[in-house]
């Protein structure tokens, strides 16, 4: 996808034109719990996109640090749906193959997706185990907590599941019909 196509998807199909209203006040950046971790604070990211930097923005860590707390969204004086646009940037980054490789959340979400497809429901330790195949250090770091939970009877060793997970797979696969 060239930049023009990326911009078209973001602005027209994903409600991204809302950022044209941004007055660069920085309320979003000031309200964000993880702004310090991002390579561009949300305000800056919108400025970057408006200046033609969509490709760089899609490779940014910013949307992946978004925890969906929606503080930016309820505070934005211009009613820009900031958190929803972060979701849109994540989806576009993945589909265009531009998501930053250094961030761990894409792998976490993919593990979540795999477990949902397999069982219809997720069980946190199962998601963690699958994610941990690529990030063993994070599993080790969470081990003491997992042991404490086990001691209190809070970790089931069997994955939770729906009656027929293949129906959930079929539902998820229906995205590819017609459109």
């Amino acid at each position: 996808m060239d930049d023009q196509e990326l911009e078209h998807i973001f602005y027209e199909k994903e409600n991204g034109h809302q950022i044209l209203k941004c007055i660069q006040c920085g309320t979003c950046s000031g309200s964000c719990p993880l702004t310090g971790e991002m390579d561009h604070a949300p305000r800056e990211l919108f400025a970057l996109i408006r200046d033609g930097g969509i490709r760089e923005a899609l490779g940014s860590t910013t949307p992946w640090y978004c925890v969906s707390c929606y503080q930016c969204m309820v505070r934005c004086p211009q009613q820009i749906p900031v958190a929803d646009l972060m979701y849109a940037l994540k989806r576009l980054a993945l589909s265009a193959g531009l998501a930053c490789s250094g961030h761990k959340m894409p792998d976490m979400y993919k593990a979540f997706d795999q477990v949902t497809r397999r069982f219809g429901r997720i069980t946190e330790p199962v998601v963690m185990a699958r994610y941990g195949l690529g990030h063993p250090g994070d599993v080790l770091a969470n081990l003491p907590t997992a042991i404490r939970m086990l001691g209190r009877g809070r970790i089931g060793l069997l994955p939770q599941r729906t009656r027929e997970p293949k129906k959930i797979r079929a539902l998820l696969a229906s995205r590819n019909q017609e459109e």
Partner: protein
């Protein structure tokens, strides 16, 4: 009163949510029917990956509840609440997309429409039940250790945001009203709607630790003895997250456990033994 109950995936492994939700429902005469064969709501993961799939997962939950003749799906998780509500708002205003998803649900004999809504159980206990129920059923006087502790309500993120119609997004007071109705003293503090780090805390713990520190600091400054939460992930992050912080540690209860104590139910009926930071019943 009868509701469809959507436990969500985190529910089973929580520190006493299932125990306290059923004990309190029984005591109050609320009938909760678990949504049969419910699936994962998709949480923040699916909206990050694929919007159609995210919405389809939520639609199946509403459709299952509808098939059982329900009008309300009750949840006890903020993430489930906001994800399901987002599904409801998006799909009921996009008939074309809803029709497409319903076509896929047809193979299971299911269809979603706008007749089933989602509500958080806190809303039901605070706004739907008559307030007199607590003065009728709660133990009076409250045990001294409980009656003398200030309780800090912790809302987390996804109940009042982004919706803002359930309660104010900044400084909501539903939990404080709930705590007061139980006959307990709510703490006034500034951390009620600050983010706990949510699922990022599992893989970005260093970045999320200051968030928990900030919340606990705010609550301690208000001299609270307990924290009351309404979401599995919030409870987990505040409970497990305090272990690495300097003492004293504050027990983090689910609002249903607090209600159970106020109703005079035994701690073991409320799963209180599963908290990482134990509750001291004599202090």
């Amino acid at each position: 009163m009868k509701f469809a109950f959507y436990p969500g995936c985190s529910y089973e492994g929580t520190a006493g949510y299932p125990e306290s939700v059923s004990a309190v429902s029984r005591a109050l005469g609320l009938e909760l029917e678990e949504v049969p064969d419910w699936n994962c709501c998709g949480a923040t993961a699916y909206f990050s990956l694929d919007k159609y799939q995210a919405l389809a997962l939520t639609a199946r939950v509403f459709a299952l509840a509808r098939a059982r003749g329900h009008e309300t799906v009750l949840t006890v998780c903020n993430a489930c609440y906001t994800t399901l509500r987002k599904g409801y708002e998006t799909l009921t205003s996009d008939p074309g997309l809803l029709a497409r998803i319903n076509e896929a649900l047809k193979s299971e004999g299911l269809a979603m429409d706008d007749t089933v809504q989602v509500r958080h159980m806190l809303e039901v206990l605070t706004e739907v039940l008559p307030p007199s129920i607590w003065s009728e059923k709660a133990v009076r006087p409250m045990p001294a250790w409980l009656g003398s502790s200030k309780v800090a309500g912790y809302y987390g993120c996804q109940l009042t945001r982004p919706w803002g119609d359930l309660d104010r997004p900044e400084r909501p007071d539903m939990l404080e009203r709930f705590i007061t109705a139980l006959g307990l003293i709510p703490a006034r503090h500034s951390a009620g709607t600050m983010c706990c780090g949510a699922s990022h805390s599992a893989v970005y713990s260093r970045a999320c630790r200051p968030l928990v520190e900030r919340i606990v600091r705010g609550v301690r400054r208000a001299e609270a003895g307990l924290i009351a939460t309404i979401c599995p992930l919030c409870q987990f992050n505040l409970d497990a997250g305090q272990i690495d912080l300097p003492a004293p540690h504050l027990p983090v209860l689910f609002f249903t456990q607090l209600a159970g104590l106020a109703l005079g139910l035994a701690p073991e009926e409320l799963g209180l033994n599963k908290l990482m930071i134990s509750l001291n019943f004599t202090g």
